[in-house]
């Protein structure tokens, strides 16, 4: 029972006969297919390598462009900041100059009219001065004197008698144009 068993479906081998007849053509087609497949695969590999190189170059260019843009932005911000600081310093100088002139005017008025400044306060828009004068008729003199040393006019806000020994006055003036700000400015 070691002999190969018979199987009546084994012959005729139609596939074998076909293959035998068409063997050269099949082999040729297979070789052409393998060749074409190889060429196609090789071309794909070459193209992929080229595209990878291109991608690396583009990535490098993109990175350089981004760095350049970042540097330009930083330089612009720095220039804007320097400009703002310059303007602010100029404004501070002008404000200081005005305040020194006001101080000199107040010293003059104190000598001439007996003006005594008791309190003054300022914000970003105006200055308010609380003072004492020995005589009420010196108020116009003081207002005109102060207004000469200040770019804007001083005005009388209120005046009150201090029990026969002079008057209390409240004077007000706005900051001159150019040094007025929104209140954020601090020397």
């Amino acid at each position: 029972m070691n002999a190969r068993p018979l199987n009546l479906l084994r012959h005729p081998r139609r596939v074998h006969a076909l293959a035998a007849g068409a063997r050269p053509a099949v082999l040729g087609a297979w070789l052409v297919g393998v060749l074409l497949g190889g060429v196609w695969g090789w071309s794909q590999q070459v193209q992929m390598d080229r595209l990878l190189d291109q991608r690396v170059q583009l990535q490098a260019q993109s990175s350089a462009l981004r760095e350049q843009q970042a540097r330009q932005t930083a330089a612009q911000e720095k220039a804007q900041l320097q400009s703002k600081w310059g303007q602010r310093a100029q404004s501070w100088r002008a404000q200081r100059q005005h305040l020194m002139e006001l101080h000199a005017a107040l010293m003059t008025q104190a000598a001439e009219t007996g003006l005594r400044v008791e309190r003054w306060q300022g914000d970003g828009r105006q200055l308010v001065l609380q003072a004492w004068l020995p005589r009420a008729d010196h108020v116009p003199v003081v207002l005109s004197g102060l207004s000469r040393s200040w770019a804007t006019a001083w005005t009388l806000q209120s005046m009150g008698d201090r029990a026969g020994s002079g008057v209390d006055v409240v004077l007000q003036a706005s900051w001159p144009a150019g040094i007025r700000d929104d209140g954020r400015r601090k020397p």
Binding site: P5, N7, L8, L9, P12
Partner: protein
């Protein structure tokens, strides 16, 4: 080449089957048997069906349709990949012979010669036979002896179509004598008188239990065990 042998072994292991189906197609009946591998390594009959064509079915096509339905019912509980069956065909449906070949061993010429011989035995054109052949084991000095068997292609095609319609694959069609010889040689039991009468009790060994010469073929062929042996032998062919 070591890895090729290892892969071959792996594939063989994958293809090791746990059960197999076989059938004998007679003129008026069909016998179906399934063998299963036991833990001991031997094979046991797990299914055996002897189906007679109903007397009400006069025409051949009606009987075949009845068998298709039966096969479909048998295969229904099985997974699709297990629905493979080897078919043994009775002597009436098969022609066999021995061809003496004294020329050089040219496979293509030998195949053509066997096909012509088989076609002549059937009295049909060569294209109308399906056949197989093998060289006999001990060739005499005066030439090669080629054993052949054949069947009509039309019938082979028809059986394959029937099997396909019933959900089965039919990769093997063999003469009944070959299947019976296989079964008789591998069947367990001391001798013919001591073999179990019922096929459900049969067990087959992995190796031959006896030689062909030890079997009384005339007694066996005329007895009731012949057809069950053929069906079981067909199934056994897929397991050995």
């Amino acid at each position: 080449m070591q890895w090729i042998r290892r892969m071959g072994g792996l594939v063989a292991w994958r293809q090791q089957r746990a059960s197999a189906w076989g059938a004998l197609l007679g003129q008026q009946d069909i016998l179906v048997a399934a063998l299963s591998v036991q833990q001991t390594g031997s094979f046991r009959v797990v299914v055996f069906e002897h189906l007679h064509a109903s007397s009400a079915l006069v025409h051949l096509s009606e009987r075949e349709e009845d068998w298709v339905q039966t096969l479909r019912t048998l295969g229904k509980p099985l997974p699709k990949r297990w629905r493979t069956m080897a078919l043994a065909v009775s002597e009436e449906r098969c022609r066999q012979g021995v061809l003496v070949w004294d020329g050089p061993l040219d496979t293509r010429r030998l195949e053509a010669e066997v096909q012509l011989e088989a076609a002549a035995a059937w009295g049909v054109a060569p294209a109308e036979v399906g056949f197989d052949y093998r060289l006999q084991e001990a060739p005499p000095a005066d030439g090669l002896r080629v054993q052949w068997a054949s069947c009509l292609s039309e019938q082979l095609l028809q059986w394959q179509q029937h099997a396909r319609r019933a959900g089965w694959r039919l990769p093997v069609v063999e003469p009944e004598l070959q299947a019976a010889q296989r079964a008789a040689v591998y069947l367990r039991g001391a001798d013919l008188q001591h073999w179990a009468q019922s096929p459900q009790d049969w067990q087959f060994a992995r190796g031959p239990e006896r030689s062909l010469a030890e079997v009384d073929w005339l007694a066996l062929q005329s007895g009731p065990m012949w057809k069950p042996l053929v069906a079981c032998g067909a199934a056994l062919g897929a397991l050995l």
